[in-house]
């Protein structure tokens, strides 16, 4: 862009009409420039608008007689608590948060009803607001957009409703604008912590560490979303091209964070020895530890995700389009329909639906069936009636035996006959000659078990094995073992007893 400008000036100065370097691609950057500024403003506008629901609540508290309460503060406490308990799965329930807010409200003023205050604050947090903003892409054209947002989302993942702080809410907590590259922000926050500790400013460091922790909560939320999405559309997702690289990046990022946090903890340990008042360091350490714990759990989760995806894909054996003459519903119907505008999509969807629905005989109104219809059992919403009955799960069937009973009996008889130390190779040969290769295999395993007995109900701890050079056998390699059997006779036992 600078070049173009310089050229403009040059051209004016020289009185040129035509570009002397016409073949040079002159990219029309001006328009994009405008768009870029637009987006930055939209982001700032959104940040500005985020707090409206809380401000409204605060501004109108007089009408409810809650002048003594600071509702803005309660709102932030609520988001804070929700973000704090937000893990990969699950989080705080509405009741938890209401109870917590009620406690704070009671501390602020015990004259009004704290539960009502708490309910109103939580209500404001989950309320979906709409922010309007304009888009000015070309001169004179103004397109207004609506951005619906909420600070807290109610989510039901199948285990009851719980709350999750949204991206905007966490941005609000760290006092930041909406920044897309979370990894960089996250890394920067942790570097700041390390620098502040280095300079001995523990209070500031603690504040910065809190910010870093919110960033890791936010990061966890994004990764959780990514994994959940991939799991849900495993049939069509581009595992090798998209999901796995994203997970790999995530793991890399988390690994770096864990390293930095461990280093920070080490730094703190060193600092604690120099300083007399350890309280600030102690609380700082608690925050960093929490980050570390979150990251370690996330890392374990990320480690297993790729295997799980690959297993799912293999298990479900999805192969697209195998010439049956039918379209594949997922890529050929759902995806393009979602990309349409609502009005166009509705045309497609109505055709789809009316084809899906079997003939509906017109309803002839008769009183008897109308009354039964009115009196039919209410289906929704499903209420929880007492505790759910768990389905009985029986222990899985035991694994089938690898060795048939005859082989087992033969090998046991051979081992029983061991009276004096015998070499494994000798036993193996005897087993092969007298019985079968399978018996030899069982014998080899029994030999191993005797050498390193496992805590198992059927392990024969009276059999001992000692290494004795290298095994000389056609099928097996490894250490030669000397096998020997301990014999406890009745006389010996009596001796021990006496």
């Amino acid at each position: 862009m600078v070049n173009t400008k310089r050229f403009d000036i040059l051209r004016l100065g020289l009185g040129l009409d035509e570009e002397p370097w016409a073949e040079e691609p002159a990219a029309p950057l001006r328009e994009r420039d405008v768009v870029f500024h637009d987006e930055a403003r939209v982001r700032r506008l959104k940040s500005l608008g985020l707090t409206t629901s809380l401000h409204d609540l605060e501004a109108n508290k007089g009408q409810r007689g809650w002048e003594a309460h600071n509702l803005l503060e309660l709102g932030l406490i609520g988001i804070d608590a929700i973000a704090d308990r937000q893990e990969l799965e699950g989080g705080a329930t509405p009741d938890d948060i209401k109870a917590l807010l009620a406690e704070y409200a009671r501390t602020q003023n015990d004259q009004s009803d704290p539960t009502a205050v708490a309910a109103a604050v939580l209500d404001a947090l989950v309320k979906v607001r709409v922010l309007r903003y304009g888009e000015y892409r070309s001169p004179g054209v103004h397109v207004e957009h609506e951005w619906p947002f909420a600070l807290v989302r109610e989510v039901d993942e199948g285990r009851g409703v719980h709350l999750r702080a949204t991206d905007p809410a966490i941005n609000l907590l760290v006092g930041a604008l909406d920044i897309d590259d979370l990894e960089s922000v996250h890394a920067a926050a942790e570097t700041l912590v390390a620098k502040l500790i280095e300079r001995g400013r523990f209070d500031d460091a603690r504040r910065a560490a809190m910010d870093a922790r919110y960033r890791s909560i936010q990061y966890t939320e994004r990764l959780r979303q990514l994994i959940a999405d991939a799991r849900n559309s495993i049939a069509t997702v581009d595992l090798q091209g998209e999901v796995l690289p994203a997970i790999k990046d995530g793991r890399e990022h988390i690994r770096e964070r864990v390293e930095v946090e461990s280093a920070t903890l080490e730094q703190l340990r060193a600092a604690a020895e120099r300083v007399t008042d350890g309280a600030a360091i102690e609380s700082l350490r608690a925050v960093v530890n929490d980050c570390l714990r979150r990251h370690q759990r996330l890392h374990v989760h990320l480690q297993h995700a790729p295997e799980e995806f690959e297993r799912l894909q293999v298990e479900q054996g999805f192969e697209l389009g195998r010439g049956i003459g039918l379209p594949d519903p997922d890529p050929e119907l759902l995806a393009p329909t979602l990309a349409l505008t609502a009005a166009d999509a509705l045309q497609v969807l109505e055709v789809f639906e009316s084809a899906l629905i079997p003939p509906c005989p017109p309803v002839a109104l008769d009183l008897a069936s109308f009354v039964t219809w009115l009196l039919r059992a209410k289906r929704t919403p499903p209420e929880r009636l007492g505790a759910t009955v768990e389905e009985t799960e029986f222990a899985p069937d035991p694994d089938p035996d690898r060795f048939d009973p005859e082989t087992r009996a033969a090998v046991e008889a051979m081992l029983d006959a061991v009276d004096e130390p015998t070499t494994l190779s000798g036993l193996l040969e005897a087993a092969r000659d007298e019985h079968s290769a399978l018996a030899a295999r069982l014998l080899a395993m029994r030999g191993l078990a005797a050498f390193a007995p496992e805590e198992q109900p059927d392990s024969d701890s009276l059999l001992l094995a000692d290494p004795a050079g290298t095994l000389d056998d056609a099928d097996y390699t490894g250490d030669e073992l000397t096998i020997e059997r301990l014999r406890i006779t009745v006389e010996e036992r009596a001796e021990v007893a006496s």
Partner: protein
Amino acid sequence: MNARDAGRLVRLALDPRVTAARDAEYAQLIGTYLADLEFRAEVDAYASGQGLLVLDASPMQLVLSVTDPDSPFAFRRQAGRPGTYSYDERVGAGLIHVAIVCLAYPTARDLVSDRTPRLSVLQVDRRLRAAATAREDGQIADRPSEQPELERAWALYARQPQTHDISDKRAYMRGSLRWVGREFEWLEDHALARRETDEDGGRYRLTRRHRVLASQLAVPAGTRALLDLSEAPA
């Protein structure tokens, strides 16, 4: 076997609650339909006279479809009447039905297989939300206020709250989980799904009837409509 029996069979096939297992007469008539070519021709003719088509016949049931969109048997979602779906709900309901079919039969091969898959309300909601987040990058998704119909379908779904429990327990129709649940109930009313358990907002097993209708009619019709739309002059 006569015209009366043909009419009787069509009448029983129209009732989603009747199955051959429960109704001996239905079972016997289907048996005849499958075995007796003459009776079959008679039933088919009787059905086509009413704007119906026998799509599939199994010893359990006859699956009919409507060939004439103006037939009294045709399904219409009337707009603009009190108690009916809002605009958002209509788009949402359509997306939910497509998503159910896509989750149950992701590929063409699944559409002709013999499976009757189980789906939960939560699964369908997640699938649509996942598809929406996948599109979120780089697009201005926020709805233009003056032309709400220009909003993208995925954005319309994505902006619905998942559930709405805190503010108002009575407003149970709000929230996308409720929408999905409602569409499943609706499928159940037409014997296209059967509720099995309550986990994950309700888990339903889709019936053979659903698969037949989806594979033979709905999916081809939907893709054709998409094609028409892309070919239509803008």
